[in-house]
Subunit: 481 residues, 2 copies
C-alpha cells in the first residue's frame, strides 16, 4: 500500500523542521535514566514547583474556593480559609458567567483584564485599557497567536536575539516564517549591540527578506541580562525607523537579582519617549503566572497587552482567539491575583509578603552561588544572572573533546551535556538549542534547585567538568583559569 | 508614514479569511445588548455552566484539594471533604512532579494518560496504549495540532461534514488548507450520504486537490445525529480505499438522548472490522471534559488518541506539543476523574450518579421540549436531537424576508437571528456559520437553558417566529404547517 497521510514523509514540512531543544535529546535521555531509577536534577526547564518551590498560599486558597464554590456555604469553611480569601473567591465567582466551568469571553474575564490594566498602570505610570489586554493559556500561546498574525510566508523575517528562547525559533518555523538572528554580546554581559542589529537587518534584506518584527526578551532567557533604559530607547528608535512591530517578552519581570538595573517595561519606555515614537511603534507585551515568585507553570496563565495596534487588527486577533473559545478560567483567576495581590492591612498580607520575599531572596542567593560555582571551574566562564531564572555559562571545549563529539555525530555541546547528565544526573540544555556564535559552546541551567542542595550540585558539576577537561585537555589552546 | 506591520492590510491573509460564527456578529450584538441591560439567553455556545448547570461535586472536591494541598494537613479537612476525595487528591498529587503548579510532560501526566487508556479499553473492548494518548487544553487544541501536521498547503483538502462545527473551517483556513464539504442529508435525519461523499471527493480532485483527511463529528454538531455502526463501517472502508486519515470528533459521546443508536466509537468499529482495514486506517479520536454531564468548558481539558500512527509521526507530534510545554495540569486531573469516576461502594458514588444522571435525564427532556417547540412554529422544521447539545431547525424564510435581508446587506438567516435576538434576547447562531445547502436556512441553538425556563423560551420563540412569518409571508411559496 502507498504511504499514508500521517506517515512521516507526508507530514507538513514546517512541523518536521521545527526544533525544540528544551525538551529535546537531553530531556528524553534524562527521562529514560529517571525511569531506570537514576536521580535526575531537572534544570532544563524553568519549572520551579518541580524543584520544590512551594506555591504561594493565598492564591491557592482563593482558587480552591472558586473550584469548590459549595464550600462557601459550609459552616466549617472559616476554620480552614481566611476571610480575605473567601471574599476574593466570591468576587471572582461573581465576575465569571457560571464559575470556573464556563467558557469566558475569548479575551478573558473582563473583571480580570481590568485588574491587569490597573497593575500595568501602577507599574508604568501610563493608563492601560482592559480592552487591549487578552488573557492566554500561558504566554507562549499569546506569542504564537501574534506571530501567526504577522507571518505571511517565508519572506517575512522576525528579528530574534541569539542566544534565544527556542519558543521563537520553533514557532517561526512552524508558521513558515524566517528567523533573523541578532547576536547579544557575551563580553558586554549579553547586552544589545545596536551595530549588530543593523548588520543583521541589512544582511537579511539583501537576501530578499522583509523584516516585520523584533523580539526582545527582558530579562533575558537564557542569558539572564536586564536591558537598560538606554538600550530600550535605542530599540524603540530602531523599530520606529525600520517600521517593525516590537514583541516584548517580559515574563521574568519579577525575577531581578541586582539593584543597578531594575526591570523597566518596554511600554513605559515607549510611552515616556513622547510623540511621534510613542504613538507609532506597535508593541505587544507578554507576561505570565508561570515565573516570578509565583512559578505557577502548570496552570498555564498569561496575557498580552497591545499598544498602538489599530482596532481592526484587534478585532482580527479577537476572532482568532475565539476559535479555541476561551483561555482556561482557573489560570485567569491566578492572573487577577498576581495583578492584584493582598494589600497592607489584609489578613493574608504578611504571609503573602513573607512567602514571596522568601522565594525571591533565595533565588538571588542561588544566582550568586551558581555563577560563582561555574566561574570556579576549569574552562568555564559565566556572566552573572541579573534576572530571569537561568545561568548560561560558556564551556570552552578542548579540541580533542570537539573531535570526540564529531566522531559520534554529536554537536560538541550536546556531547558535553550528555556526559554531564550520565555522570551527575544534572539535566541541562546545550547552548546550540538557543543559538550561539560559531565555535563557542554553552549550556543552560536553571537556578531553581533547592538552595540547600545547590552547593552539592555545583560541587558535583565541578568534579565532572574538571575531570572532563583533564581528560580532553589539549594543553595550549586555553590555559587554566 | 507608510502602513505598519500590524495594520489590517498587512496581516496574514489566512488570519483575515478565517470565519468563526459561534462568536461572530450575533454574539457581539448580544454582548452589546447585555451591556445595555437587556436579558440575554446565550444559546450560541455549548457552555452548560453558563446556563446554570451545576458542576459535579466530587471532581471539584478533588481539584480543590489538589490546588490547596496544605489542606490535606489541616485537622478540619475531614469535616468538609469526603475521604474518597481526599484519597484521590493524594493520588493525583503523587502523579505530578510538583503539584498543579509544575509543567507536566508535554503529552500530559503519565498516570492520567493511563486512566484514559483504561477508560478507552473498557469502552471499546480493545486495549489502548497510554503512550498514544496526548492530553490537550480542550479538544480544539488537539484538532488544531493534528490538522497542522496534515496540512502542507492550499492543495491539501480535508473532508468536513456540512453543516459543520466552525472549528474545522476556521482552523483549516488558518492553516492555509482547503475544506472539502460533504453534505449531511437533512431529510434522512442528518445521516451520512456515501454517494455525496464520493461526489465531493471527485469534484475536489478534479480541481487538483489532494484529499488527505476526513472529519466526522459523532454525535453531530450542530446537527445532533448519532452515526450508526453501518455508517461508521462505510466510513472506514471509504477512508481505507481513498487513503485518508480519519479525525473522529467524539466530544459529545456522553450526550445521547435516545436508545436506538447508542454511541459507538470510531475506534471500536475500526478495530472490530479486522485486517487489513483495522491495521491500515489512520485514526485520531478526540474527547473532552467540556461536554457530557461534566460541562467543564472553562477548565479546557481534552485528549486525542492515535490509532495506526507510525512512531516517527508520534514523535513529531510530541515535539510540537513541547513548544507550549504542557497542557494545563488542573484540567488533566479532571480528565483523569472523567476516565475513572467514583465506583460502586465509594463514599461519593451515590452522589456522583445522582448528579450525573440528573443532568443527562434533564437534557433528554429538554431535547424533546425544544424539538417539539420548533416543530410547532410556522415555517420551522426540526430533526430530533439524538445526541450532542444542539438543535438545528430549518427556518423556511418567505421571499419577502430574504429580500428585506438583502436590502440590508445581510444573509437571510443572519437577518432572522438578529431580529430574534432583539425581540426575545435569545442569542443563536445563523446556519450560514455552519454551512447549509444553497437557499436553505437554519439556526443553531443549544438545548442547555434551564429545564424550567424552557417552556417560556420556546413560547417566546414561537411568538416571535410566527409574528415574523406573518409579517413577511408572501402566501404561496410555503403553506402553513
Amino acid at each position: 500500500m502507498s504511504s499514508k497521510p500521517l506517515d512521516y514523509e507526508n507530514l507538513n514540512e514546517n512541523v518536521k523542521k521545527c526544533q525544540y531543544a528544551v525538551r529535546g535529546e537531553l530531556y528524553l535521555r534524562a527521562s529514560e535514566l529517571q525511569k531506570q531509577g537514576k536521580k535526575i536534577i531537572f534544570t532544563n526547564v524553568g519549572n520551579p514547583h518541580a524543584l520544590g518551590q512551594k506555591p504561594l498560599t493565598f492564591p491557592r486558597q482563593v482558587i480552591a474556593l472558586c473550584q469548590a464554590p459549595f464550600l462557601l456555604d459550609d459552616p466549617n469553611v472559616e476554620h480552614i480559609f481566611p476571610a480575605d480569601a473567601i471574599a476574593r473567591a466570591k468576587q471572582y465567582l461573581a465576575m465569571t458567567s457560571g464559575g470556573l466551568g464556563a467558557y469566558s469571553d475569548s479575551r478573558g474575564i473582563p473583571g480580570v483584564r481590568k485588574e491587569v490594566a490597573e497593575f500595568i498602570e501602577r507599574r508604568d505610570g501610563h493608563p492601560s485599557d482592559a480592552e487591549l489586554i487578552f488573557l492566554t493559556d500561558g504566554a507562549s500561546k499569546g506569542v504564537a497567536q501574534i506571530l501567526n498574525a504577522i507571518i505571511r510566508g517565508p519572506n517575512d523575517g522576525i528579528l530574534v536575539p541569539v542566544p534565544q528562547y527556542p519558543l521563537y525559533s520553533a514557532t517561526i518555523s512552524l508558521l513558515g516564517g524566517s528567523l533573523v538572528p541578532y547576536y547579544l554580546e557575551e563580553t558586554a554581559n549579553w547586552g544589545l549591540d545596536i551595530k549588530d542589529l543593523h548588520r543583521s537587518v541589512a544582511e537579511a534584506r539583501s537576501k530578499g527578506l522583509m523584516i516585520r518584527a523584533m523580539v526582545i526578551i527582558n530579562p533575558g532567557n537564557p542569558t539572564g541580562q536586564c536591558l537598560s533604559e538606554t538600550n530600550l530607547k535605542e530599540i524603540m528608535r530602531f523599530c520606529y525607523r525600520e517600521n517593525l512591530v516590537l514583541l516584548g517578552d517580559e515574563v521574568y519581570q519579577q525575577n531581578i537579582y541586582q539593584d543597578v538595573r531594575p526591570f523597566i517595561s518596554a511600554r513605559k519606555v515607549l510611552l515616556d519617549m513622547g510623540t511621534p515614537i510613542s504613538r507609532e511603534v506597535q508593541l505587544l507585551s507578554f507576561h505570565t503566572v508561570s515565573k516570578g515568585y509565583w512559578g505557577e507553570c502548570g496552570q498555564r496563565g498569561g496575557y498580552f497587552e497591545m499598544t498602538n495596534i489599530p482596532p481592526k487588527t484587534v478585532e482580527e486577533i479577537y476572532k482568532i482567539s475565539s476559535i479555541s473559545l476561551s483561555p482556561n478560567v482557573p489560570a485567569q483567576i491566578f492572573l487577577g491575583l498576581m495583578a492584584n495581590p493582598p494589600k497592607p492591612g489584609d489578613i493574608s498580607y504578611d504571609q503573602f509578603i513573607r512567602e514571596s520575599k522568601g522565594i525571591l531572596d533565595s533565588l538571588r542567593r542561588r544566582a550568586h552561588i551558581m555563577t560563582n560555582g561555574f566561574n570556579s571551574c576549569i574552562n568555564v566562564v559565566c556572566n552573572f544572572t541579573e534576572g530571569a531564572m537561568y545561568s548560561f555559562p560558556q564551556i570552552r571545549l578542548p579540541q580533542r573533546a570537539i573531535e570526540a563529539a564529531k566522531s559520534l555525530g554529536k554537536a560538541p555541546d550536546v556531547f558535553y551535556c550528555l556526559k554531564l547528565l550520565e555522570a551527575t544526573g544534572i539535566s541541562t540544555v546545550p547552548g546550540s538549542g538557543f543559538g550561539q556564535k560559531e565555535g563557542v559552546f554553552h549550556l543552560r541551567t536553571t537556578i531553581l534547585p533547592a538552595e540547600d542542595e545547590m552547593p552539592a550540585i555545583m560541587a558535583s558539576f565541578k568534579e565532572f567538568n574538571d575531570g572532563f577537561m583533564d581528560q580532553y585537555e589539549d594543553h595550549g589552546r586555553y590555559s587554566r583559569m
